[in-house]
């Protein structure tokens, strides 16, 4: 079966038939085994051994993979599912930018923007304190500040919408 794998934004086509994997012109003998009692899986690709820890993140086929020393956000889908998800992502994009949400419970220290401000992707929008450390929360994408739901000094739960963008 052919999988289209998105690795941190890079698309790689992996053709998987039993224990044979083909990427472009390269062909490998591959094997996946789990280590009992641990989340560690051993992936061998040819002679190379990789220790992999996978954690599902949201939709089917989406994982956070830790391969040896590095971490990757990946999405592995067959061609049909890939096409469907690309279409719905395009539709979502048309609905507008995602809001800024609290990634953990904590205290809102400061809101750097006002309604109507134009923000760029990655711009610090809200300062939050958790674990005695101040953290800047950044706009996930560019947009205009539509509403501010965060009040400095107030405690918020994980996932709370702090700033809505449009």
């Amino acid at each position: 079966m052919k999988y289209i794998v998105d690795v941190e934004g890079t698309r790689v086509e992996v053709d998987l038939e039993g224990e044979h994997a083909r990427v472009g012109t390269a062909a490998y003998l591959v094997h996946l085994s789990t280590i009992e009692g641990t989340p560690v899986q051993v992936v061998t690709i040819g002679d190379a051994v990789h220790r992999v820890v996978a954690r599902r993140s949201g939709a089917r086929g989406s994982y956070v993979l830790r391969v040896d020393g590095a971490r990757y956000a990946v999405e592995a889908l067959d061609e049909r599912s890939r096409a469907i998800r690309d279409l719905s992502a395009a539709a979502e994009g048309a609905r507008g930018p995602q809001p800024v949400v609290a990634p953990m419970p904590g205290l809102v220290v400061k809101v750097h923007v006002a309604v109507g401000d134009v923000v760029t992707a990655g711009q610090p929008v809200v300062a939050m304190e958790a674990m005695k450390m101040e953290n800047e929360l950044r706009a996930p994408s560019a947009g205009t500040v539509h509403a501010i739901r965060a009040t400095p000094g107030s405690a918020v739960e994980k996932g709370a919408v702090l700033v809505e963008l449009r």
Binding site: V5, A48, V53, R56
Partner: protein, 501 residues
């Protein structure tokens, strides 16, 4: 020696002190908040006392409860660890007044070093160099030029009310000082409503280098050499080394002698650390003294062969130091602080349950941890989970060993700083030892932005395809990948609902 000692702390340092107690044959008494009832430091101790609810202010910071717990359990001494009440003069005094031994310096020494300005005056009086600077606002450019000449260029103009770099100017030559003073004042006036500006010597390419001292109650005080702690983010140390690549044997002796002078001047007893800025030319300047055991003490232990925590307890029990002179380092040690921070995502704190933890092992590797598989990482305490420390004959081998150990480490369930450390260790400037205290923050975008190699991406893609294939039932009998904690709880609920139906 004491029969019994109470440990007024939690996490990895509490476990570290429990271990020292057991080796010394001292009964250890742990304390805990409700969040830590099943923590390793509690389980490994000989006795344990509940203090109160999770917030520190209701548990680990309750001096009266700690002293009461010591009395109730028959402990004769209190070890404060680091953080919490370790540098509170009032607590050191209360412990002494309660007839207990304090594993740390006398309250008077904590007070003498507690205020930065008092410590600076003490240092100046005992010939310990400090960063030259004025304590009164500059009146005009002529005065500024006169003082700059005296300190030597470059100098730094600094707003009295300053912060965030506003009202700050580096001046490299006499001709630029008048203009710089005017603009610094204007900026300070606009930013803080106060145009008072000070002048101090500007330290070029400074490193944070600190000297560990050990002093007994019989008047002996020795230096155990330096630690290089320049790899910092927002004043939080991330990686420490001993020795420092920037310190020669001669400089080590000079800095050690200065640290011992400062410690003696403060009437210091027990383990302490003098922090210095070290400039590009090998000139050093005293900053402050930390009157407690430091997080990074293991790197000194590995290059000196001394157990610092055991010596803290032995000194508090009145033992004499058996060394007459300072100790030179042997080999190289590096420590990486493993924190529960999502370093790829602005170092946001990561919380949750550690579902699995595999600690590295093998030659020259030490793992000082306060957590294990099953530990909950919450928001109540410091995000440092553990310290990974390695020793090797030289720096290059120590870096290779640390890389190997970090690759062996697996922590599943919370995000950690592991990958960040691997990236720092791979950086050519870090490997050359070419860094200052500003290096990490300046280098972070490059460090975190480095893209994976095509070969690594291909391996990740193949692994992802195989795991996705298995999870959709493409491989018979293989267990599917677990999701996050919350997701699994939902799965469980769904299953229960399914059974009901």
């Amino acid at each position: 020696m004491f029969n019994s000692l109470l440990i007024a702390n939690r996490g990895e340092i509490a476990l570290r002190i429990v271990r020292a107690c057991r080796e010394l044959g001292v009964r250890s008494v742990a304390v805990y908040s409700d969040a830590d009832a099943r923590a390793p430091h509690v389980r490994e101790a000989d006795a344990a006392v509940r203090l109160g609810p999770a917030p520190s202010s209701e548990s680990y910071l309750k001096g009266d409860l700690l002293i009461e717990a010591a009395h109730r359990t028959g402990a004769e001494a209190i070890h404060p660890g680091y953080g919490f009440l370790s540098e509170r003069e009032w607590f050191a005094r209360a412990v002494r007044d309660a007839g207990l031994a304090w594993v740390g310096p006398p309250a008077e020494a904590i007070a003498a070093m507690g205020s930065k300005t008092a410590a600076r005056q003490l240092a100046i009086a005992h010939d310990v160099p400090v960063v030259p600077g004025t304590t009164e606002a500059l009146t005009d450019a002529i005065e500024a030029a006169r003082i700059a000449q005296q300190f030597g260029y470059p100098v730094l103009l600094k707003a009295a009310a300053g912060g965030g770099g506003k009202g700050m100017r580096v001046v490299r030559e006499p001709g630029a000082i008048a203009g710089a003073l005017d603009s610094a004042r204007r900026e300070a006036q606009n930013a803080f409503g106060d145009d008072a500006v000070y002048i101090e010597k500007y330290i070029e390419g400074p490193r944070h280098v600190e000297i560990q001292v050990l002093a007994d109650t019989h008047g002996r005080c020795i230096s155990l050499g330096e630690r290089e702690c320049s790899i910092q983010r927002r004043h939080q140390k991330m990686i420490e080394e001993a020795p420092s690549i920037a310190v020669s044997a001669e400089l080590r002796r000079a800095m050690g002698a200065a640290a011992v002078r400062a410690a003696k001047a403060a009437g210091y007893v027990n383990a302490g650390t003098c922090e210095f800025l070290l400039d590009r030319d090998g000139k050093f300047y005293f900053l402050e003294m930390n009157t407690r055991i430091q997080v990074e003490h293991p790197v000194t232990e590995l290059v000196t062969g001394l157990d610092l925590v055991a010596w803290q307890i032995r000194i508090a029990a009145g033992e004499r130091l058996p060394f007459t002179s300072s100790i030179d380092p042997r080999g190289w040690a590096i420590e990486c602080r493993i924190t529960s921070e999502d370093t790829a995502n602005g170092f946001l704190p990561s919380t949750g349950r550690i579902d699995y933890l595999h600690a590295p092992g093998g030659p020259g590797v030490r793992w000082d941890s306060g957590v294990e598989s099953g530990s909950e990482v919450g928001l109540h305490y410091d995000p440092m989970l553990a310290k990974l420390i390695v020793w090797a004959p030289n720096r290059e081998q120590a870096i290779a060993r640390m890389k190997r150990a970090l690759e062996e480490l697996v922590i599943d369930g919370v995000e950690t700083s592991r990958e960040f450390h691997l990236r720092v260790l791979a950086d050519p400037e870090f490997r050359r030892g070419a860094f200052t205290i500003q290096w990490l923050e300046e280098r972070l975008p490059t460090l975190l932005g480095t893209a994976a190699s095509p070969a690594a991406i291909e391996a990740a893609a193949i692994a992802a395809a195989m795991i996705a294939h298995r999870d959709r039932g493409g491989v018979r009998g293989a267990p599917p990948t677990a999701g996050g904690v919350a997701e699994r709880a939902w799965d469980r609920m769904a299953r229960i609902d399914g059974h009901r139906a």
